[in-house]
């Protein structure tokens, strides 16, 4: 064998090895969908899915030296498109930025017919006092339930409102009103401020909070980092204390600030959720949390929410887990806004609402908290 023609002909040997390897890789990719449907093939299929995933590199979990070197700026790459837009107003307030009121359309991601009202939130004009016979749901969250990159008519809030109303008697003109207070890029501390400062003014019956990986995972502290860098007062005592205990100062680099704040992720989440629930109780409203996935490959979302369900249970907050919404499909790119943008597209948003509705129906207590009784609805 050692002296045979094949082994001495470097070119032909290497060509064969290269061709076989490449053909094998191509076959592996093609076999992914079949593997995914097999009972024991799910894990290998997930691995193949990860190997072909460009989106996986956009996640904030990549912070080696060379990843920091190659990234475009001080913000995590995933967040860059969310900022520095003409659709936003930047100020020195606690929230750092807010949506510009009375926009005709928004320009982040694909150009979308997603107007904002005079309050600076997505959707049509809202009346400040709650209309009679209406159950108001204040939807709190970030870009996923805001419906970034999707026309308003196909966004999560609209789909949910339509779905809820479709189930109610025709003689009640508008039993449900879902007010979309979600703003792209907002994390838990900003969302809390939205609840306290804006949403509560509209007398909602329910606060429906979306928790995404943005809020519970690597970028949870983005807002605090920006506050410290801007030298803005953290406004709330527990946020001030967190910044002080972390030793975060304006002069620190972004990376240093993220590192200093990292140990406070769970305490800040717990504290904020507690306060949000208290606020809901104060407003005689229900407080429900949804765990909402991005369109990630593999089981990233599930991994990232580790410990969150337990935390919600310990706080006695009713929660709906939607993290498995996209699990049935091996090729996730068909549900994404763009190839590497893990926000759900129209189809993805519809799947989320469908799953939410199914889960709500499966949990009568939470359904009752959200929908109230028909009598309660007509008050």
């Amino acid at each position: 064998m050692r002296n045979c023609w094949f082994t001495t002909q470097g070119f032909w040997r290497d060509a064969l090895l290269t061709t076989v390897t490449l053909a094998g890789l191509a076959a592996l990719e093609r076999a992914m969908a079949s593997l995914y449907s097999m009972p024991h093939g799910r894990f290998p299929a997930i691995l193949i899915g990860v190997m072909r995933s460009r989106a996986i590199l956009q996640n904030p979990g990549t912070r080696g030296y060379y990843e920091q070197l190659a990234s475009g700026g001080t913000l995590p790459a995933k967040l860059l498109p969310l900022f520095f837009s003409h659709d936003l107003i930047y100020d020195d307030s606690f929230r750092i930025y807010r949506l510009r009121p009375k926009l005709d359309r928004q320009t982040v991601g694909p150009l979308t017919a997603q107007p904002t009202n005079s309050f600076g939130y997505v959707g049509h004009e809202w009346a400040l006092p709650k209309p009679p016979n209406t159950r108001r749901v204040a939807l709190l969250g970030d870009s996923i339930v805001m419906g970034m990159g999707i026309d308003t008519s196909h966004s999560f809030a609209t789909l949910l409102e339509n779905r809820l109303n479709a189930d109610y008697p025709k003689d009640v003109p508008q039993p449900f009103e879902v007010l979309n207070f979600a703003v792209r890029g907002y994390v838990i501390t900003q969302i809390y401020d939205v609840e306290v400062e804006d949403a509560s003014l509209f007398q909602p019956d329910v606060y429906l909070l979306e928790l995404s990986e943005l809020t519970v995972y690597g970028n949870w502290s983005t807002h605090l980092v920006q506050l410290v860098q801007a030298g803005t007062d953290p406004k709330y005592d527990f946020v001030r204390q967190t910044v002080r205990r972390a030793g975060a100062v304006k002069e620190d680099s972004s990376a240093t600030l993220y590192a200093k704040l990292a140990p406070f992720r769970i305490p800040v989440l717990r504290e904020t959720l507690t306060k949000m629930k208290s606020r809901a109780v104060h407003d005689h409203a229900q407080f429900i949390v949804m765990l909402v996935p991005s369109v990630e490959d593999g089981a990233l979302c599930t991994q990232r929410f580790d410990g969150i369900r337990e935390m919600l249970e310990s706080l006695d907050i009713p929660a709906i887990d939607l993290l498995d919404t996209f699990d049935a499909l091996p090729y996730k790119e068909y549900l994404r806004l763009e190839a590497t943008n893990v926000h759900p597209n129209r189809l993805g948003e519809r799947m989320l609402v469908d799953n939410l509705y199914a889960r709500l129906r499966a949990h009568p207590d939470i359904w009752s908290a959200l929908a109230g009784t028909p009598v309660e609805t007509r008050k």
Binding site: A15, A26, R52, S53, Y65, L69, A259
Partner: protein, 476 residues
């Protein structure tokens, strides 16, 4: 293989003036201890094989239909795999398609047209992959550099002029003024920040004036517009290895390295995936999790080595028989060995620009002293140049403790290794079974040391690293 670039600094090639013609290398043999520490063969000028006779390149470039078809099939398959696995971005697939398409034409061209054709496509490719304004600026600055280097004035004045342009661009990069697009600086840096140093160094040690074609082929490399993290290719090596053997062998090796790079980039995605749970240090709550994240953080270097394999593989298609960029670095058995295996082009760059000049200057005062000082200088400059590289991409210099300590510790360890190796040579050598038994232990020890050091390098600050390493203890 990994030492080819460094070898070029100490060897002469007939037909072109000796690089060391200014008098420090061309007659001085390297002692084995020096050469081994650096991964440079202990060869002298006289031991260098004679240059191929003129015209040999043309023989090596002779086409062969059968072999061409095999190569073409491999490249088409490779493109298919890029597409199926969404390797990198769409720009990358576009760039790869252009590179492979260019190869299909380039292969059949008469030898004298080959390099001009590649250079034309490569330079024009800037307009395909970059913003037209950035591409125009890039080529304009490159041509300005060339014209300055051709000026009939003393070398130091030419270097000074180049330095003035660099200073102006550094100012522009730091202030990000509106006249130059911000996207210009990372690409400019990727092309010129290191290779201009090598080019000037080689020019200083040569008597002939710079020529346009080699200049353009060295700087305006099509993959470089896409990959801002680019191997520091040595100019002399690039020229010397051009069609130095049969094109089919060269191109086949290139295809092989591209496949290797592709697989490494796929594995990198798995590494990112498995490391994701530990990205937040508060989730590293067990010793197992800590070990996993240390290993996975180190393995993230697959991203760099994968890209470097792709880049060099692509250049092989056009006859540049460049050496390997990374070679089984996970199997390094000592710090010196690691230095020879990982990012070999960087090691060769440092050896050429820093190590040898310092070493030969200090050699008269003692061999070991010269080695140690030269090694220290290499790591000092490496540290500074990493900050300089960071500057071109981000517009600000990085001066962090983890970065400083990482290079400092690594430098000290390599210096200690050099000392140990030089002492070890005088002692009774180990028997073959002892060597074989010790080797895995050394590799394992090296792997543990590197994973720990790498995690430190990747940490944003000292506190974050200490928290990562100790959180699992407190969480119990």
């Amino acid at each position: 293989m990994q030492s080819t670039a460094a070898t070029s600094t100490i060897t002469a090639t007939s037909g072109s003036p000796t690089i060391g013609a200014k008098g420090w290398v061309d007659t001085q043999p390297l002692s084995p201890s020096v050469s081994e520490a650096l991964g440079v063969p202990a060869r002298t000028v006289s031991q260098q094989p004679p240059r191929q006779v003129r015209g040999a390149e043309e023989v090596y470039a002779a086409p062969n239909v059968g072999r061409f078809l095999v190569l073409a099939a491999e490249l088409v398959l490779l493109l298919l795999v890029f597409h199926l696995f969404h390797l990198e971005t769409r720009s990358f697939i576009l760039m790869s398609a252009v590179v492979f398409g260019t190869f299909f034409i380039h292969y059949w061209l008469p030898f004298r047209f080959k390099e001009p054709f590649w250079v034309t496509v490569s330079t024009g490719g800037a307009f395909l992959l970059l913003d037209p304004k950035v591409a125009t600026l890039l080529i304009a600055v490159g041509l300005a550099f060339f014209l300055i280097l051709r000026l009939p004035v003393a070398f130091q004045w030419r270097v000074l002029s180049l330095g003035a342009i660099f200073a102006a661009l550094i100012y522009g990069c730091a202030t990000r003024g509106p006249s130059i697009p911000a996207s210009f600086y990372p690409v400019f840096g990727a092309i010129f920040m290191f290779r201009i140093i090598i080019y000037l160094y080689d020019l200083a040690h040569r008597t002939e004036p710079p020529r346009l074609l080699p200049f353009l082929s060295y700087f305006f490399l099509l993959p470089n517009y896409y990959f801002t993290l680019f191997p520091v290719i040595d100019f002399q090596t690039m020229r010397r290895t051009y069609y130095q053997r049969d094109i089919h062998e060269i191109a086949q090796q290139g295809a092989h390295w591209m496949v290797r790079g592709t697989i490494q980039l796929m594995l990198y995605r798995l590494v990112v995936y498995f490391n994701d749970p530990y990205y937040l240090p508060d989730r590293v709550t067990s010793l197992g999790a800590l070990i996993a994240t240390l290993i996975l953080t180190y393995l993230m270097y697959l991203n760099v080595s994968g890209k470097f394999h792709l880049v060099v593989g692509m250049l092989h298609l056009f006859g540049y028989d460049l050496p390997e960029t990374n070679r089984r670095y996970l199997l390094a058995s000592s710090f010196s060995d690691m230095w020879r295996r990982i990012n070999i082009y960087w090691k060769d760059f440092m050896v050429k620009i820093v190590y040898f000049p310092v070493y030969f200057r200090l050699r008269k005062r003692g061999e070991r002293r010269a080695q140690l000082f030269a090694t220290a200088a290499v790591f000092l400059v490496t540290w500074a140049l990493h900050s300089y590289q960071f500057f071109w991409i981000h517009g600000q210099f990085i001066l962090s403790w983890p970065d400083t300590i990482f290079w400092g510790v690594l430098g000290l360890l390599v210096m200690a290794n050099v000392l140990l190796e030089s002492r070890g040579k005088r002692q009774q050598p180990y028997s073959s079974w002892q060597v074989r038994a010790l080797k895995p232990v050394k590799i394992l020890g090296m792997f543990v040391a590197m994973t720990t050091l790498w995690s430190f390098w990747s940490a944003p600050n000292l506190g974050a690293w200490v928290y990562l390493m100790t959180h699992w203890i407190h969480s119990h």
